[in-house]
Symmetry: C2
Subunit: 518 residues, 2 copies
Amino acid sequence: MNNPDYIKNAAGRMVPVMVNGKPQVEFKGVNKYRPDGNKYAPPIPSSNNYPSDGDKRVPSLKEALKKSGLKNGMCISTHHHFRNGDLLANQIFDVAHELGVKDLVWFPSASFPCHEYLIKYLEDGTIHHIEGSMNGPLGRFTSEGKMKGLGVLRSHGGRYQAVQDGDIHIDIAVIGAGSADPFGNANGLSGPSASGLLGFAFADSQYADRVIVATDNMVDFPCIPWQIHGNYVDFTVEMDRIGDPEQIISGTTRITRSPDRLFLAELTARFCEEAGIIKDGFSFQSGAGGTSLAVGEYFRKIMREKQIKARFARGGSNTYLVSMLEEGLVEFILDGQTFDLEGVRSMRENPSHVWTSPFTSYNHHSKGNFAGMVDVVILGATEIDLDFNANVVTHSDGYLLHGVGGWQNCLFSKTVILPVPLFRDRIPVIREKVTTLCGPGEMIDVVVTERGIAINPLRKDLLDKVKGSGLPLTSIEELWKEAEKICGKPESLEHGDKPVAVVKWVDGTLLDTVWEVK
Amino acid sequence: MNNPDYIKNAAGRMVPVMVNGKPQVEFKGVNKYRPDGNKYAPPIPSSNNYPSDGDKRVPSLKEALKKSGLKNGMCISTHHHFRNGDLLANQIFDVAHELGVKDLVWFPSASFPCHEYLIKYLEDGTIHHIEGSMNGPLGRFTSEGKMKGLGVLRSHGGRYQAVQDGDIHIDIAVIGAGSADPFGNANGLSGPSASGLLGFAFADSQYADRVIVATDNMVDFPCIPWQIHGNYVDFTVEMDRIGDPEQIISGTTRITRSPDRLFLAELTARFCEEAGIIKDGFSFQSGAGGTSLAVGEYFRKIMREKQIKARFARGGSNTYLVSMLEEGLVEFILDGQTFDLEGVRSMRENPSHVWTSPFTSYNHHSKGNFAGMVDVVILGATEIDLDFNANVVTHSDGYLLHGVGGWQNCLFSKTVILPVPLFRDRIPVIREKVTTLCGPGEMIDVVVTERGIAINPLRKDLLDKVKGSGLPLTSIEELWKEAEKICGKPESLEHGDKPVAVVKWVDGTLLDTVWEVK
């Protein structure tokens, strides 16, 4: 491919030089790109222009959007703390459609199956494109080349970075909040649509031109604690319902019962124990998937036996992690999102269950962030290749079905472990080359499969530590061969020539392109 | 005076067109100035340049200052949460002096008598000038025309505004913290130098080029809660002592025993009762002075009798306000600074004792702030004139002896009451014209003296409410006449031609000039 519209980046991937009309910087390598210039500077507001008694209420979301100056081509942001129970994003675009507004950019912190509803607005031109995760139905729609603009996938930290640095300019942020006061102070801790925290909306509140806070639990000033500062808010709206509590709770928060996955989890925990990672004062983060949860339970067992405790665990939180906090096995939970009502309750009641934001946890363009301080993270992947590169957004058939989430950011942890099955539905997970590059292999330390554990040769220290431990050590090449032996050599995927989305690295550079599925 | 270097502002005061080489905007009237342009945008940092394990410790303050690139002409900021127990600011300039650095601007959020030590550095050119309050000895030094540059007095909110808008650029912020972790997360809640909160350093952390956190209580990551985000911090320093706990506690936090002042306080509380201000769900703020504290106690009595509670009180907090919170008479304290150890304890333990910052409470260049939501504030003044204009920074002899603090910001409250004696040391407080204008008369509603209460004629609503109440109502003119009858007509002050400081209004415009004392 020798097309002036593309450039080969430091990972050898072809990425477009322009995305949705904006010039791009290609991935330069891990920790290689050094930003210049200054952060985005919002216009200076004046209290003169806001009600002196602090009451910013307007009667409806429509009114708030109109007062915010909603018009063609604007960028509208939302957060995903309501997950699949979000009742707000769809209504925003209903209003836009009703008002005849076109070519909007939707900039969610993540999308969910409930947002399949928006496909009609992608089709009729109300929404031009989405910058954010395009999970499930929206991903399929995108992969089939049907979205007018190019999708832009960012990590949670990358989203903060993009807003902070002005890579994207939010015209109107709509922030659904479990509780809020008329001034706009808001939190997710209580009310019928409590979602725990609002960290994913923090950047939006700071940097958007207009900020709308919508709630179904309007309380008198002051709404305490304020996770969102009313001082950044233009309008507040009281609505009947902003979220469906049953769907706010994620479906992925049960420990796996699959013996295969339990085995993976146990092997992962054993690895951590043998490698000396589980020690007094250590820290860990494991995701919300069934296997990750199971890893946490094995950690608990080891910690009880050894009578040690963790200084902190990074959430997503859920009933399991909360019980470790309450048992005293974990001193602090530094939480980015609560996955169940126990998480919400704990965060509301326990000062050691701390709410964070992508700014504190993940923003690469800060003076450091929390990610690098975590001793070990347990993450998933759709594919891993011989260079330990990993993919989390596309499947091997090329379909874009997942978002990046905090995954890229977590790669900065001291030890990154990916427990994955060797294959899924007879499709190898360990492959010669990943379909889409989301995480450079140099950042991925250990791959745990049911057929053995491969340690990245760059981590000689880890290799030394577990030598002679009795763990089933192998190499990534062996795993790859075994996968192909069992599943057969996968057909190489021929993608279309048209890009449908790009994957950004944590520093805003372009890591890879997602192509149309033929 | 027809000097091109000065301009007459909307309050009729002559103010310089340039201050320390920077062009100024003159005061345009309350809520008249509309800022254009954008906030200050700090350079984009990258985590690449910070230790991946988050440990930003350097061995000494000197090392931190050197690594921060300390050099001639820089602006160094500090906060005043340690009040007269601050052991940090003087050390910073000791280092600067040792390194031969000259012409620094010191930008404290307030200065105290302990900073008299810095006069030698003002004299030898280490410090060029101070932007911030110049209390006591520093004020006297300034008033005598000895400071090289012009002092710039700002309210707490105006200081946030100035930093946010780029009116002042902080090169290095040094933030003393009761507790901190090696990453720079910090709070004032615990440790030997606990000062309660760090809100006055919030702007500095967000906008300074380099941020140093110094503590005498370094804890393991994470320092919870983080009032200062480590993500904004460049270097952390562990020091032996950063504050003198006995001096951190303000000396002004005892209820007055003076019968005259108690009478003033009682009259003020009675006025609030008669005017219908003290009702269920109301809010109030009274300062840390003896009279203000006494007002709070009278409020308590009325609230108990009427069985009502306040929705919130704004602090400065102290043992009296905390006891009202704990008694259930106040639902929330929204606190800007703790004045005693009870305040610190309550803030540490009670989630309803909330730490704020000048950003949330006072910044005029936000989308609103808390000041306008407070039903009544009780404030002091050195002088009040026939137009209800008030002065808080100079005495009638022209000496600059106090800072503005949050005083100007509090004028945005729904009702502003100044309980003052008619005269002090036979010098009238009620005067024809204030020496220095700090608060425009249209914002000051009620003046309470031992000889009667004067209500600003602009507040017809208040006049109506207290008609026939039996309160000793009078007019400001009558008070003025009575003061002159008792004290004699004060000689008019002839100030020198040289400006020594300027007083900014909350929007960054120039409200008045402080002149050299002849």
